[in-house]
């Protein structure tokens, strides 16, 4: 089940997703900041229900890749295909509509809004009523608002947060804020959820719960999850495919077992053995 199969683009995806178009594919993606190649020749494919990891030392370019995938940055080279569509020239909100949602390394909730309102912002595009309809309180306004509220509560109940709906987002404890960020992202009905260091600042038992939650998200919504993480127990525990990044380049791709024993990866993290001897 955990077998990864190479695609023509030299990327790996799980066997069960083989007959379907990858949800996300990048080809020779690269970006320069001034003279620096922040990311270069980044080629991957992510299966529709795959949980994959992006790891690498600090400054390797992981968050830069998330910013490229969401069109926050414009790539210098290469192609991004979301669900088969080239995202070149699209704005960030269009890429989100196409199916890419994300969370942030430093939590970026709408702190002054309630928990429910945060999720409702995620549901922005699933509501269609116009200003006139809301001003004159047409039935379609009530119906859509009511449905969105129900949907928001349903999503919150996924992580047992429905009782916090009316709390101010900024007042939530840290772990709940992280979960709310995931719920808000899920509200946009993504095909792939990008998680930027979801376990940062968590203790081992919270991390274990997070692993369960990530699996739950994948199994409930049948979507792909791509995560950046430094916590190796989490990465090795739930990722099916892993790409290792160093100085903006992929130095290894494979299953957790392959990555663990990969010489280039060990060197990138620990330095070369011969040095100093």
């Amino acid at each position: 089940m955990n077998r990864l199969v190479p695609l023509p683009s030299r990327s790996l995806i799980p066997e069960r997703d083989l007959d379907k178009l990858p949800i996300l594919e990048t080809r020779h993606l690269g970006i320069d900041f001034g003279g620096l190649n922040a990311v270069d020749d980044f080629t991957i494919a992510v299966g529709r229900t795959e949980i994959c990891g992006l790891i690498g030392p600090n400054g390797a370019g992981k968050t830069t890749i998330f910013n490229l995938l969401t069109n926050v940055y414009r790539p210098t080279r290469g192609t991004i295909l979301v669900d088969g569509y080239d995202t070149l020239g699209m704005s960030t909100h269009q890429v989100n509509k196409l199916g890419v949602a994300r969370t942030f390394q430093n939590i970026r909730l709408f702190r002054d809004m309630t928990v429910e309102e945060n999720v409702l912002v995620g549901l922005h595009n699933s509501m269609k009523y116009g200003v006139a309809e809301s001003l004159f309180r047409f039935p379609s306004y009530w119906k859509q608002e009511k449905r969105a509220r129900e949907k928001a509560l349903e999503l919150l109940s996924l992580f047992d947060m429905q009782d916090m709906a009316s709390f101010q987002a900024g007042s939530l404890p840290y772990g709940a804020q992280r979960r709310l960020e995931m719920v808000r992202a899920l509200a946009t009905e993504p095909g792939i959820l990008l998680l930027d260091e979801p376990a940062a600042g968590m203790n081992p038992s919270e991390t274990a719960e997070l692993m369960q939650n990530i699996k739950k998200v994948r199994d409930t919504f049948n979507i792909a999850v791509m995560l950046i993480e430094h916590d190796m127990s989490l990465v090795m525990g739930i990722c099916e495919g892993i790409a290792v990044l160093n100085y903006g380049k992929i130095i290894a791709k494979g299953t957790p077992d392959e990555i663990k024993s990969n010489q280039a990866v060990i060197e990138a993290y620990l330095g070369r053995q011969e040095e100093g001897t």
Binding site: T70, H93, R108, F110, R111, D112, M113, V121, G122
Partner: protein, 295 residues
């Protein structure tokens, strides 16, 4: 007139001009909240609204109701057009470039009005013909009553729009974290455009109400009104909508009381003294949140 009557009269005057300041201040505050721009052209939109009302009534002899519609719609479209033409191309530029552009737009509007309508004032026919009503022995002028009711209703509608609709939530999300809102699928351009439309519509309503109280249109009438509304927005806490309302009424009442004690010549001075005091003592305003640097 008894002392009590005088006080009541002045409170009423203060609330009438205060509600107009509040409507204009809301536009300042909303736009600042969403793109951190002090839109100094906002006051001049009121001037254009007053001219539109004058055109509709004095020149085209339209019914006052149509004149109001023309003024409000005209202001809304003008506000959106200014954003599209002058501010949108500067998105991502330093804030000072936007600010200078806003001042430029303000001068442009004033001079364009002077070119088209001439420098002298045009008198606007009475828009509201309502007899004063007597309440507990005190006369309340019709215009004061209509102004208060209209402003109150507008603020209520705005509050509902901002708090309970998808566009309102998008506005609040964008003003808190533009990047995150965008990544959640919120279209920034539409949201900013909508904000300008709302703010300018309120300015349009404000211009009609102002024209009821001071039935004259001249090219620079928006400058002082805009500045005072700006002080109101800062007093309430710029970016905060309840703050803009409170600030507007506070400025209106302060002016009325300065006039009541016989110091009308000091009216404008007192307003700007309030600005200085607020900036010294509580720069975030009455209801503003402490500033935190965006990372």
């Amino acid at each position: 007139m008894s002392l009590l009557e005088t006080i009541f009269r002045q409170i009423l005057n203060g609330l009438q001009s205060g509600s107009i300041y509040a409507l204009v201040a809301l536009g300042y505050s909303m736009v600042y909240g969403i793109i951190t721009l002090l839109n100094f052209a906002h006051g001049d939109i009121i001037m254009v609204g007053a001219y539109l009302a004058w055109l509709a009534m004095a020149r085209l002899a339209l019914n006052p109701i149509f004149a109001v519609l023309v003024a409000v719609l005209g202001c809304t479209i003008l506000g959106m057009a200014i954003e599209k033409v002058a501010y949108k191309p500067l998105r991502g530029s330093p804030r000072i470039s936007l600010l200078i552009t806003a001042i430029g737009v303000s001068y442009f509007l004033e001079n364009a009005a002077q070119m088209i309508f001439g420098a002298s004032s045009q008198s606007i026919p009475a828009i509201i013909k309502l007899r004063a009503i007597t309440l507990g022995g005190v006369q309340i002028p019709g215009t004061a009553l209509v102004t208060l009711l209209t402003a109150g209703a507008s603020m209520a509608v705005l509050t509902i729009l901002v708090n309970h609709t998808r566009m309102g939530r998008a506005m609040r999300a964008v003003s808190e974290d533009t990047g995150a809102a965008q990544l959640m699928g919120v279209n920034i351009s539409t949201t900013i455009s909508f904000t300008f439309a709302l703010g300018s519509a309120l300015a349009g309503i404000g211009s009609v109400l102002y024209s009821c109280a001071y039935p004259q249109a001249n090219p620079t009438m928006g400058a002082m009104l805009g500045l005072k509304a700006f002080v109101a927005a800062v007093l309430g806490g710029i970016g905060s909508l309840p703050g803009a309302m409170v600030g507007g009424f506070a400025i209106g009442l302060a002016e009325a009381f300065v006039s009541a004690v016989g110091l009308s010549a000091w009216k404008d001075g007192v307003v700007f003294a309030i600005l200085i005091v607020v900036l010294l003592v509580r720069p975030t305003g009455l209801l503003g949140k402490p500033m935190h640097e965006k990372v």
